[in-house]
């Protein structure tokens, strides 16, 4: 070892550069076959603390591509599809580079992602300049749709849709006079909870708000699991009949357990980040009972398509479907169906962007159709409830309140 490395010295720098150039050439080498090949990429966190969320989506996209190639979802296609995952670590500083890699790969026609709002903000200028369509399964920051990026799409409703709907449900259906709201300090939850608070206040409820950072337990948060004990004590003191948590299932499960252990008996509510069977399994059936969860999507039900997706995913990934899996699957399938519509001719990135603006695709979570700013159309928010350890759909908020 000693001998070997000592000599590497400065030549190492040159070697690095040399290898880099080889790599550069390799990526540009395009392939030519009778059927054109298009690559659908996924960008999201495949390393670091948010890995699980990233993997939930990655395998869903991969599954969609595999199924399309085998002809089981769209019949025979005039092209072949390839899948390439790209890791941005969920970080805004890493994401522009990752994006550039996908842009350079000429066979990539569309990207499912970026997964996180911050990463999207940082990478989208580059994607926009390259006219490369990005369909995010999970970036919910409202501002993303206001930047004038023509190539930006998302299959989830933004925070401005869900928060107010939840507030309406809590105040008008549950008749809550006081609501305790907690967010996990993520950019997703902060946006959501401020929309919730504003709406609930305007409807006449009294809001007490606390921020409890998401924990390292669940994501790459900074928080400490033990804060939930103290927080639960605080909530219990207010005797608010409803507690709304903005964040993800895993932290919500911890918080819910702490609340029940502290003797709190009020109604628990949360958002689509918590709409996950893991919430019930981690909190326990008795703690999770009657919790109301919302989503601007219809839940994975028992239809044959849903079941086929679940079992196909499990087979491919080795673990069951999780948060945003179905959204990623829908995003990928929307892209594939649009490609199919564009048909035999050679499809450019810009043409796909234009076509996506007109796309209509009946997905697992919702009917996918985009507004001109890239937001999903018809952001009907549905409420769900945990009943007997299962998440059951109650219906759209407008009907429940109406």
């Amino acid at each position: 070892m000693h001998l070997g490395i000592k000599r590497l010295g400065v030549p190492m720098a040159a070697t690095v550069l040399g290898l880099t150039s080889l790599a550069g050439m390799a990526t540009t080498a395009a392939q030519a076959s009778s059927k054109p090949t298009y690559t659908i990429a996924y960008e999201g966190p495949l390393s670091g603390g948010n890995q699980q969320l990233g993997l939930n989506m990655k395998y869903a996209v991969q599954l969609a591509v595999n199924q399309a190639n085998s002809g089981s979802t769209f019949g025979s296609l005039p092209f072949k599809l390839k899948f390439t995952p790209a890791d941005d670590g969920g970080s805004a500083t890493q994401s522009p580079t990752t994006a550039q890699g996908l842009i350079d790969n000429k066979s990539v026609v569309a990207v499912v992602g970026p997964a996180f709002s911050g990463a999207t903000k940082a990478a989208e200028p580059s994607f926009a300049a390259a006219h490369l369509a990005t369909v995010s399964p999970s970036a919910t920051a409202p501002i993303l749709a206001d930047e004038g990026w023509k190539n930006f799409f998302r299959v989830v409703a933004d925070d401005n849709a869900q928060g107010p709907a939840d507030a309406t449900y809590a105040v008008q259906k549950l008749k809550a006079k006081g609501i305790y709201t907690v967010d996990d300090a993520s950019s997703y939850a902060v946006g959501l909870v401020s929309a919730f608070d504003a709406k609930a206040t305007s409807l006449g409820a009294k809001i007490t708000h606390q921020q409890a950072p998401g924990t390292t337990q669940c994501q790459a948060g900074t928080g400490n699991v033990q804060e939930y004990g103290a927080l639960a004590t605080q909530v219990q003191q207010t005797h608010d009949p409803v507690t709304f948590y903005a964040g993800y299932y895993c932290d919500f499960a911890l918080f819910a357990k702490a609340l029940r252990a502290a003797g709190y008996t009020g109604q628990l509510m949360s958002d689509d980040g918590s709409l996950d069977p893991h919430y019930v399994s981690q909190a326990g059936t008795s703690v999770a009972a009657k919790t109301v969860l919302s989503c601007a999507c219809t839940n994975l039900g028992n239809s044959s398509a849903d079941k086929a997706f679940s079992s196909g995913f499990k087979k491919l990934a080795g673990f069951p479907v999780g948060t945003y899996s179905a959204e990623a699957y829908d995003a990928a399938n929307t892209i594939i169906s649009t490609l199919k519509k564009l048909g035999n001719k050679s499809i450019s990135r810009a043409a796909l962007v234009t076509a996506l603006h007109k796309a209509v695709y009946p997905g697992l979570t919702k009917r996918v159709h985009f507004l001109s700013n890239g937001n999903i159309a018809g952001s009907t928010v549905y409420e769900y409830q945990v009943q007997n350890g299962k998440i059951v759909e109650l219906g759209p908020v407008t009907q429940l309140v109406g």
Partner: protein, 308 residues
């Protein structure tokens, strides 16, 4: 004051946190005592304890919900499993990441880096092998309010933590004070060179110190996991806090670590009542900075050899 309305509630939950901090902090303090080193990979010892107890309890309990004496039995089993897992990882850690460096009298920075590397290696490997979602340890008891003291609700979980922690802390204190191993630890802590001249096998004492710290850390991993579940990243924050606690009480000082842990737990909980929970870490570190400015050796002072 902002916390007067539920002062005792917060003290109770703070004590429960504090006992966990104390258990982890002891691992830091013991190792620091004999090596004058921060064991940065202690967080992964903690994590391994959590995973070990998860697998053992899941195998042992199945889907049963035990009561009474069975509950006690399973808690003890969990503590033992966690302790064993923690001890094993701590032992390997010392063997692989520390001993070769120690043989060479490497600079202290090298130990830190080796430990950081081991920590990254271990927790990412755990994520790969056991999945990256939190796993629920099957609960050996049904949690809920048991009694109230000064109006504060005491949960079963808190009682379990307190009893397990106190038993282990007292045991360790006695082990260090009375047994041959304890004498060895104290001798090495005071003056390793002289100790080795007097016939103390330094390698063995250091190994055993890691194992003792590992037992406590691993058991803490179990107790922590009971409420929070176990996941590959679980070690980071609690270990950081526990380290703060160890410094607060005077690193290298066993009773100091316990005092620091309890103090930190209570202050953090009271702090949450006064401000947003998201400022909690700022409070903890603010206290640390203040203590270090005023009394750099921590509340009870440093030396392992002298204190116990």
């Amino acid at each position: 004051m902002c916390f007067t309305s539920n002062f005792w509630n917060l003290v109770v939950s703070g004590l429960a946190d504090g006992f966990l901090y104390a258990l982890i902090a002891l691992g830091y303090t013991l190792v620091y005592g004999v090596l004058q080193l921060i064991n940065f990979a202690h967080s992964e010892v903690f994590m391994s304890g959590g995973f070990a107890s998860y697998f053992v309890l899941r195998a042992a309990m199945g889907s049963s919900t035990p009561h009474g004496i069975a509950s006690v039995g399973f808690v003890v089993l969990g503590v033992l499993a966690g302790g064993t897992g923690g001890a094993l990882v701590a032992f390997l850690l010392e063997r692989i990441a520390y001993r070769p460096l120690r043989r060479r009298h490497a600079p202290r920075l090298a130990f830190l880096i080796s430990a950081i590397g081991a920590s990254y290696f271990l927790y990412n490997l755990a994520g790969k092998e056991f999945g990256r979602n939190a796993l629920e340890i099957p609960s050996p008891f049904t949690n809920g309010p048991v009694f109230t003291i000064f109006g504060a609700v005491v949960q079963t979980y808190y009682i379990v933590i307190a009893i397990s922690a106190v038993v282990m802390l007292v045991l360790v204190d006695r082990v260090v004070a009375v047994t041959k191993l304890g004498k060895g630890i104290r001798a090495v802590a005071q003056d390793a060179e002289t100790a080795s001249l007097m016939g103390v096998n330094i390698d063995r004492v250091i190994s055993q110190t890691f194992v003792v710290g590992g037992i406590l850390g691993g058991a803490a991993g179990f107790l922590f996991g009971l409420s929070a579940g176990v996941v590959f990243t679980m070690g980071f924050t609690p270990a950081l806090k526990a380290f703060t606690a160890a410094v607060l009480g005077g690193i290298g000082n066993i009773r100091g670590a316990v005092l620091g842990g309890l103090l930190l737990g209570i202050v953090e909980n009271l702090g949450v009542a006064c401000t947003q929970a998201s400022w909690r870490d700022v409070i903890a570190f603010g206290i640390l900075v203040l203590v270090l400015m005023i009394r750099p050796t921590g509340i009870l002072g440093e030396r392992l050899g002298r204190s116990a």
